[in-house]
Symmetry: C2
Subunit: 272 residues, 2 copies
Amino acid sequence: MNRRTVIFISDGTGITAETLGNGLLSQFAGIDFRPVRFPFIDSLEKVENCLLRIEEIYKQDGVRPLVFMTLMNEEISRRLRMSDALFMDLFDAFISPLEHELGQRSNHSVGRSHGQENREYARRIAAMNFALAHDDGVSAADLKSADVILVGVSRCGKTPTSLYLSLQFGLMAANYPLIPEDFERDTLPPPLAPFRDKLYGLTISPEQLHRIREERRPHSRYASLANCRAEVAAAESLMRRAGITWFDMTSRSIEEMAVHLMQAVNRKANGS
Amino acid sequence: MNRRTVIFISDGTGITAETLGNGLLSQFAGIDFRPVRFPFIDSLEKVENCLLRIEEIYKQDGVRPLVFMTLMNEEISRRLRMSDALFMDLFDAFISPLEHELGQRSNHSVGRSHGQENREYARRIAAMNFALAHDDGVSAADLKSADVILVGVSRCGKTPTSLYLSLQFGLMAANYPLIPEDFERDTLPPPLAPFRDKLYGLTISPEQLHRIREERRPHSRYASLANCRAEVAAAESLMRRAGITWFDMTSRSIEEMAVHLMQAVNRKANGS
């Protein structure tokens, strides 16, 4: 298979460059892209090491590497461009049109203001602590502080979704399991009753749930396909009658589910 | 303050478009950017709604909105461009140079292959379950499966960093606190002894630790600045003598810390 080295260079973590780069490269089938990462390149000294590595990679591969870069500092990016590679500069491509449109020059500084980052950071840490403290119904205290409360059967994806909502978006996300007792009583868990407008459901195909539960408790009644079918049907029926909007995790990633939930929360906040 | 609407449009979650867009806009001081998000725009029907909203926003603001877009489907993106906005098409800008460089046409399909996503998803969920099961030293069982074990004083940032490493990178990340008992004995917690090569330390300034602990247990000895100073000094001295590489969380975000740790783990794996 055709092989090609892809280099991600950033003055920050490089996560944005890598995510966008991977999205672009997924459009080219049949090539084995080998990633190399240079995060935190925020000085001319650090860029020299990149130049050496680019040269080595070129020699080794016999073809120039692809470089996806997000560098705010013009001097650093100019120095980098002296090496031989295909440069895809994610900032440079858009800074000029933005300067023209907004009628002002950009700052060309590295990163954002630290004050803002710290507040944002504190908010996400608080949200994560909330998500951990309110995981799997361990505590029903303080649910009035929740932005969102996820409900669904055991192992349908509530915990990773709550944690992602908190870590990525700073949302206070609790989650609460729907268990056989709730299905027998045929009502929502009583502690959730006052918070109807914050409840969102997750569901999953019984087949996928069965596979996930088998890994955790092989050959148990809990994991059996028959039981998964019954629980999913009972949970969906309960959510339907309670008027809870729910989402299907079956073919969705954690990120996709988190964004769907953010949209639903925002729609409700906007009263539409 | 000058106000401007920024629209993020994607056939996926839109997280990449938003992250890159925010990075670019942070370069323009003094403008109040108002974000509007249109994720999951993967059909011509859905794009019609975007066109209407763009028109509304233009009328309301009196100035055309800025649009950051990641759309794989050419027909959808062509239709979108019929509205009046400043389009920054994160894919379009780089697809042509890539096609030229790689000597092949791109697929222009929406998203990646689902098979790969599912494996990747399963790996990240398994990693998250591992991180939760091995948070704060709750279990020392199965530490041999860990890719990395973080140590540090209580509240220095071990939990969010472990969870981020697992959810974002699929790394099996355990964490273990360093507590007054360890400082008195002046050795690492005994269960960690066999895993010296997987240990990484986190540290933090005593002042920041004091602020964080005060929120949790106000006016306690645990949170006092004197105690925070003593614990941080003891932990750093212990890690120094044990030969553990450590990182300072003080002015770093969770993402930055996670990427620094990934780099350290990779350097060790490459034997350098």
